[in-house]
Amino acid sequence: MCVQVYGFGSYFEGTKQCNDIDLLLIHQDTSISSCKFVLRCKTELVALVPKLDISILSRTEAESLSFKEQAEVVAIGNICGTNFESDTRDIATKVLSF
């Protein structure tokens, strides 16, 4: 099971002083297992990166809302269950060095 991580908003547009860092997590579907996994990703990322504001949608939810297109998101990477710790650390590093 994997979650796709995207950035959007002023932080990723290069604004120097931002109140928060907006991330979008897109997970597989709206099943309980998929929701639990993406919430675990959220908890871990919030612990690693300060001032995160995380939106979460399943693939179909994101598609029906055209969220990625409207928010002009930037792809950051994936968090997969098999490499959970290293994937979340990599994402945190990429976000903080953006």
Binding site: H27, T30, K51, S58, S64
Partner: protein, 136 residues
Amino acid sequence: MPAHSEDFPWPSYYRNYNFFESRMRAHNKITDVEASGDGFYVLTTTAGDTIRVFICECYSFGVAEYHEANEKLGKLNAIIINSNWCGYSYECKKHCRDDEVGLFDIRDFMAALNCDAPWNYLNESDKEYFQQNGWL
């Protein structure tokens, strides 16, 4: 932008709580508005029922966040997305409705309170999407 909070990532700004409270106190079906903090309210209706409400701001409230809200706050009766720049997914609306939980913006919640089963209330956009997807 949504207010950032370490403990609860998507509560609404206090001024929107004030707006929500004023609208609820003016509603003819509501007799009491009790604030429990962090956007959580217990409303009492003229019929004597209580409605557990969570007010939040997030760009797009989805099914996972619905589970998160339930986990943090217990069983809710209504979730209000209280910002013009925020919304919810139709999938989440259906998911909540199936659980007899209302998912609304504040205007729709005002209208839903006039219904016997508020969680069932759909605005025109909801109805159109639900019909297109065979959910009605």
